[in-house]
């Protein structure tokens, strides 16, 4: 009997893009238990949001995540619009939908490369990231930026999609669809990929439901749950689409779900471009938001994104709460990691598409009494501003 040893993984590790710490209890080559520790890059965005006006917060919220920035702003603006009772123009809804899907495409390409790197397949990594540029180019053409687009505003969107842009988009979409089909072939035929992904990081459908997994991770366990279909927002109610599911419950299924979503997104963008109504793209909204609470849901590329907003009638939110998809997937990640081989750890972690800075939570624990302690806003402010001065 070999004694279990603890292997630290992170906060700095080549397989991780962002700091998080896993402590793996390992027996021989198998993982027996995992401890996850968060809090390395907590940025206090929710607190920051309370000090800014609703309009300024659009730009703050955009910076929660570098990759799914549009999902966060959509989610936030929807919540504000609900409180204001504003109905945004139809054209703006379509443009939001198109951007959401373009973001999904670029995120899934990015993820595919990242996963390929985790399994040591550098060539696939280079290829997917090259192809992702095609999507970024389109995003830049319309919005002027590659990642934080600055497209959303309360009451609509800031830029329109014109006829010339549509032509260029069509061309790029054709290319992206063709490449996605090629990668699907690679990921279902190439033996060295199959060897590393099939049957690895299993998450049974019942576990996925019990542990509240979201997004492609959940859909790869065969459960057709998607905010776009269940509670349509923007123009999703008017564009028909298929919710992609696979029932392999392993990393291979997670890859296939995402590749199929790319193909589905391309089709959705085409349909949206065809059916896009003419008209204004934004409405003017008042500065102050009436008292109330709102919850908004958006299907971000990584899964269900939730924003909760409470207003006290002023021009600044009283409370903004963000639940990014990765946080919902962490309990299932722990489940998936139990029992895997050491060599499979990176690919299983990559499988949920972790985005850590977006979901960061912090709790302060007194090391002597082992008690968690909630801090008031004032204490937080003092810690942030005076701690460095004192020491």
């Amino acid at each position: 009997m070999v004694k279990a040893i603890d292997i630290p993984f992170g906060p700095q590790h080549p397989a991780l893009e962002e700091p998080i710490n896993f402590t793996f209890e390992v027996e021989e080559e198998r993982v027996v238990d995992v401890k996850i520790r968060l809090g390395y890059i907590h940025r206090g965005i929710e607190k920051l949001a309370e000090n800014r006006t609703y309009h300024q917060n659009v730009y703050l919220v955009e910076r929660i995540c570098g990759i799914c920035s549009f999902a966060h702003t959509t989610c936030y603006t929807q919540a504000v619009e609900e409180l204001l009772g504003v109905d945004i123009p139809e054209r703006a809804k379509y443009i939001r939908t198109i951007f959401c899907e373009m973001e999904r495409i670029q995120n899934h390409y990015l993820w595919l490369g990242f996963t390929a790197k985790a399994m040591g397949f550098e060539t696939l990594f280079m290829y997917t990231w090259r192809d992702r540029e095609a999507m970024l180019e389109v995003l830049e053409m319309i919005s002027g930026k590659r990642v934080n687009y600055g497209m959303n505003t309360i009451g609509g969107v800031r830029r329109d999609i014109t006829g010339k842009m549509v032509e260029r988009m069509e061309e790029r979409l054709n290319y992206l669809e063709e490449r996605a089909n090629y990668y699907k072939k690679v990921c279902t035929k190439e033996r060295s990929i199959l060897k590393r992904t099939v049957g690895v990081g299993m998450l049974e459908p019942s576990d996925a439901l019990n542990l509240c997994a979201v997004g492609p991770t959940l859909r790869a366990s065969g459960i057709p749950q998607d905010v776009r279909a269940d509670e349509p927002y923007a123009a999703y109610g008017e564009i028909p689409f298929r919710v992609v599911t696979y029932d392999g419950c392993d990393v291979a299924s997670r890859i296939l779900v995402r590749i199929d979503e790319i193909i589905e997104s391309v089709k959705m963008i085409r349909r949206a471009l065809d059916g896009m109504p003419q008209g204004p793209i934004r409405v003017k909204v008042p500065k102050n938001v009436p008292k109330g609470e709102a919850v908004s849901l958006v299907e971000a590329p990584r899964g269900e994104d939730l924003h909760y907003l409470r207003s006290d009638g002023s021009d600044r939110p009283a409370r903004l709460k963000v639940r990014a998809p990765t946080l919902a997937n962490l309990p299932s990640l722990r489940k998936m990691l139990k029992g895997v081989n050491i060599a499979d750890i990176p690919i299983v972690i990559a499988g949920i598409d972790p985005c850590l800075a977006c979901m960061e939570r912090v709790i302060l624990v007194d090391t002597k009494s082992k008690k968690g302690q909630a801090w008031s806003g004032e204490e937080l402010w003092r810690y942030a501003n005076e701690w460095y001065r004192e020491s």
Partner: protein
């Protein structure tokens, strides 16, 4: 008399000795990097020298000047010795490879066995390096190195004997001499050549068999604690191993420096580049295997194929 000694010294230090081998090692590294970059739709080395050909040298010098850290818990003397030994062990067998003619600088009956032995020693050294650096990642990497050796070593050595049986000589120069009469062993032992290339990939710890170093899994595996000069020497040693692997392919299966109308060293270089091409090409094609998958594949496929090849050689001779 003096002239002959002078010639010998020139041979050892310049051509085809140290200077030539060093330049060859850097050139092959550049070629490998550039080629893999091309396969992956990148540029690869670009700025240092024409087409970035001097980049490996620049990297080497840069590493030499970096801070050299010895972990507090490491076994100091072996930790410092291992990079040097690795360099020596990966360079020595190259003197047994015929480059200018059908006879090498050092050649005697049985040098093939010595080369095999030294190749095993380099693998053992990396295991030892992992062990003395006492890091958890390097320990896992070291164990993987050892396990991997159990997988590739047996078929590698079996197929290396194939050409020796065919030529009736245990000396690399003897094997090249035999092939210079017209028949290369790749024509009669194509199966052996395939097994040999795969085993060499595992020996060189390159994708898809870079299991002991697996960057995304165990950071850099057994290399993780080596830095500065030590890392520079190990990387150079790895280049020499690549050169050795390619030149063994050339000598054992492709007729060594003989067999074309071009001058001998040039022929050797062209064949060497071709063999590096094969090794680099394979590197760009696959995802990394897991250690258990590699071992299973080695014992299920590589060893039976190697044995089959040897039996075929025996039968054909008989």
């Amino acid at each position: 008399m003096v002239q002959r000694e002078l010639m010998a010294i020139l041979e050892v230090f310049f051509f085809p000795g140290f200077l030539f081998l060093f330049s060859l090692a850097f050139f092959i590294e550049w070629f490998d990097r550039k080629l893999v970059a091309k396969f992956q739709n990148r540029y690869g080395p670009l700025y240092v020298g024409p087409k970035g050909i001097l980049q490996p040298i620049a990297d080497f010098l840069k590493l030499l000047s970096k801070e050299d850290i010895t972990p507090a818990m490491a076994d100091k003397v072996p930790f410092a010795l291992i990079p040097l030994l690795m360099l020596t062990f990966s360079m020595t067998p190259l003197f047994c490879i015929p480059i200018t003619g059908s006879s090498a600088l050092i050649s005697f009956e049985g040098d093939l066995i010595v080369v095999m032995f030294i190749m095993t020693l380099t693998a053992l050294l990396s295991f030892l390096g992992a062990w003395v650096s006492t890091n958890r990642f390097s320990t896992i990497g070291g164990v993987r190195t050892g396990l991997q050796m159990f997988g590739y070593e047996v078929p590698l050595n079996i197929v290396m004997i194939g050409p020796a049986i065919g030529a009736g000589s245990l000396s690399i120069s003897g094997i090249v001499e035999w092939q210079s009469r017209g028949v290369w062993f790749i024509m009669t032992q194509i199966l052996g050549f395939a097994v040999f290339s795969l085993c060499l990939l595992a020996h060189l710890q390159r994708v898809p068999f870079d299991i002991p170093e697996a960057e995304t899994e165990i950071v850099a595996g057994w290399l993780v604690e080596f830095s500065g000069k030590k890392l520079a020497l190990i990387r150079l040693a790895k280049n020499f191993e690549l050169v050795l692997a390619a030149s063994l392919m050339v000598s054992l299966y492709l007729g060594g420096p003989t067999g074309t109308l071009l001058p001998n060293p040039l022929t050797f270089l062209i064949k060497l580049v071709f063999c590096t091409f094969i090794l680099s090409n394979l590197r760009a094609l696959f995802a990394r295997y897991r250690i258990d998958q590699f071992l299973a594949a080695a014992w299920k496929y590589l060893i039976p194929l190697a044995l089959l090849q040897i039996s075929l050689v025996e039968v054909s001779l008989w």
